[in-house]
């Protein structure tokens, strides 16, 4: 009995702390929906799992009344627009959105705003001004890869670029950053570029096809989900393994650790954490609570270095992708930084 009372008191304290600043309203009767356009890879699966965890805890703690996740089956903007309209009709107070298109959903998003629904987009953001955007500076991510290579290979050399899915915003941004980096560090030259579609097997195939025509490669710049495939293609062709920048997938980290133990291999791994969904959840909660939140927020990418490799590998489930779950305090920090 005493424990129960203590627990309740702690909970009350915590709720109180969460609403410190006193101008914030109670959101315990609010309902939040996740509109997700795609679930067909390990990153999205980890994203959905993090959302579920965060949502369950938040509902149990009485922070919100509901936080349900919905995923469209065909990754189509029209399908997702219909899904958003259904959410408006269902009376959700906020929609957290990973969008199939930056522009094609603007009409549906505007309808939601007009109906008084808060829309927070993340990862796949929308350009409609009434929505909030939690974006990653993908160009900076690309540039950081080349900056890192410059510290490791001061002599420079030939680079192979593995891009993502052609025609997608994220692919263009990361590639832009990489090319900016190469322009700055002119000891590097990109001698080949292939599209790996952010998938190990596609990347492996594309790299195996271009390798015979390439000179010696000093480094491989990637976009995530393609580093292990590239390593396998180099191995199959009997070429020395270059410095491959990785993208936080568990099989990449595992391979890195094996190489490090075998021959002291050093590299860098960076990508967006799927847990960004939990950050979007807390931002939506803060907006509902009446906090003044700037429309454009930036989330840092998750970076794994030689020193943090073992730690990251230990905390990443086998076959998944390295992740962090964001808490309310992280959201408040991000909001404060944008103000």
């Amino acid at each position: 009995m005493k424990r129960l009372f203590l627990g309740a008191a702690t909970l009350a304290l915590m709720t109180g702390a969460a609403q410190a600043g006193s101008h914030l309203q109670d959101t315990s009767d609010k309902r939040i929906a996740l509109s997700n356009n795609y679930a067909g890879n390990s990153w999205r699966q980890a994203m959905l799992a993090t959302w579920e965890e965060t949502a369950e805890q938040a509902v149990a703690d009485g922070v919100v009344a509901a936080a349900d996740a919905y995923t469209t089956s065909e990754n189509q903007a029209t399908e997702q627009a219909a899904q958003i309209q259904n959410m408006i009709l269902q009376g959700y107070d906020a929609i957290v959105l990973n969008a199939a298109s930056p522009t094609a959903l603007n009409g549906a998003v505007k309808e939601a705003c007009d109906a008084g629904v808060t829309v927070v987009s993340f990862d796949g953001i929308v350009t409609e001004p009434c929505a909030w955007r939690i974006a990653v500076d993908f160009a900076a991510m690309g540039k950081e890869e080349v900056d890192y290579l410059a510290t490791r290979l001061p002599e420079g050399g030939n680079l192979l670029e593995i891009r993502g899915l052609a025609g997608v915003f994220v692919d263009d941004e990361i590639s832009k950053g990489i090319h900016e980096g190469v322009a700055e560090h002119d000891q590097f030259e990109i001698v080949g570029s292939v599209h790996g579609d952010w998938a190990q097997d596609v990347a492996q195939k594309a790299v195996a096809g271009i390798l015979p025509s390439l000179p010696e490669i000093a480094g491989v710049v990637t976009q995530g989900g393609d580093g292990y495939g590239a390593a396998q293609a180099f191995d199959a062709a009997g070429r020395p393994t270059p410095l491959i920048v990785l993208g936080n997938r568990q099989d990449e980290l595992q391979w890195w650790a094996e190489q490090r133990d075998a021959n002291g291999y050093e590299t860098l791994s960076l990508s967006i954490a799927p847990g960004v969904a939990s950050l979007a959840f807390w931002v939506a909660q803060q907006v509902l609570a009446g906090e003044e939140v700037p429309k454009d927020l930036t989330v840092p990418f998750l970076k794994i270095t030689q020193d943090t490799l073992d730690e990251a590998l230990a905390s990443t489930p086998e076959g998944s992708v390295a992740n962090v779950s964001y808490a309310l305090e992280d959201a408040q920090e991000v909001i404060a930084a944008a103000k």
Binding site: G40, N41, S42, D201, S213, Q232
Partner: protein, 314 residues
């Protein structure tokens, strides 16, 4: 055989195109890396050839027959097989059994939808593929399990200088060719594709032939998924994606009639090699994604026209 007669064989064009793409890539390196490139083409071409031969059997059944559930079947078979094996040595055959059973199951399910519910094959296989894909997601949540080391070594290994996966693809090609050209079942398949009504009136078991074709394509897809996952270090939820259009493209480029009733096994292999080599060639020449897609499309159209206009009696 005169030159004109040689050119009139529809499969020759896919092989010519593959050879040209191969030569053009090597022109860039002045001959260096020929073996490497051929080896890579045979490895990756094998997966396209295996699913392509399955698709060819279904397309031969006549207009409207196509299997759009190939990517989902590949993903589901690979996911379940790798989950059952869970990287334990000595489980390769068990995993193969699971993969083939999945193929058998999805093939029968597809045919049940087409035959019992009378759904058009395009709708039936597309709808079913959503179920297979969901089962794959549900069964393992997208976690990538490594294949057992022995199986991975086999999938990436070589025998007599050729990749093991290419041997598997060549063996299947031989079997399919013999069945099509030398067995009654093959004749039934061609007859059903040329005129379903006539074939039925002639007393052929056309429904059994159709069922066998839909089951075969699914089993081939499952086998390709199993091999691809073992080759690339694990099953991924999006691993089959590019094999949807690829499987249809290699059939059409290979000289099989899209109207049905006419199969071409050597053409599928030539087209599978070509599809890998043309992308490698354009990548090697530094073509951007837009240029690459436009050129690939243009070249495919050119080959299909070349292969179809010279067909004897056409």
């Amino acid at each position: 055989m005169t030159l004109l007669q040689r050119l009139s064989r529809p499969w020759i064009w896919a092989w010519l195109a593959a050879a040209l793409a191969f030569a053009a890539t090597l022109g860039l390196t002045s001959g260096r890396g020929a073996g490497e490139l051929a080896y890579a083409a045979l490895s990756f071409g094998a997966f396209a050839a295996i699913v392509g031969m399955g698709q060819m059997l279904v397309i031969t059944l006549g207009p409207g027959n196509v299997d759009l559930s190939i990517p989902a079947t590949m993903t589901l078979a690979a996911t379940l097989a790798l989950k059952v094996m869970s990287t334990d040595p000595g489980t390769a055959l068990l995993g193969l059994g699971v993969a083939l059973a999945v193929g058998l199951g999805t093939g029968l399910a597809n045919f049940a939808l087409i035959f019992l519910l009378r759904l058009p094959p395009i709708i039936a296989t597309l709808a079913a593929s959503l179920i297979y894909q969901s089962l794959a997601i549900w069964s393992n949540r997208g976690l990538r399990i490594k294949p057992p080391p022995g199986l991975a070594d086999f999938a990436t290994g070589r025998f007599l200088g050729l990749p093991n996966v290419a041997w598997v693809g060549l063996a299947l090609a031989l079997i399919v060719w013999v069945v099509l050209e030398r067995s009654v079942w093959g004749r039934w398949l061609l007859a059903a594709g040329q005129n379903l009504r006539a074939a039925r009136l002639a007393g052929m078991p056309v429904e059994a032939v159709r069922a066998a074709a839909y089951v075969t394509v699914a089993v081939f897809a499952a086998l390709a998924g199993y091999l691809l996952a073992s080759f690339s270090g694990g099953a991924a939820l999006n691993m089959g994606q590019e094999y949807l259009l690829m499987s249809i493209a290699v059939v059409v480029i290979g000289g099989t009639s899209i109207a049905g009733g006419n199969s071409n096994v050597p053409g599928v292999w030539g087209a599978a090699l070509f599809m890998f080599l043309v992308v490698s060639m354009l990548n090697s020449y530094g073509a951007g994604a837009g240029v690459r897609n436009v050129l690939t499309g243009t070249i495919i159209i050119a080959i299909v026209i070349a292969a179809s206009t010279r067909r004897p009696g056409a």
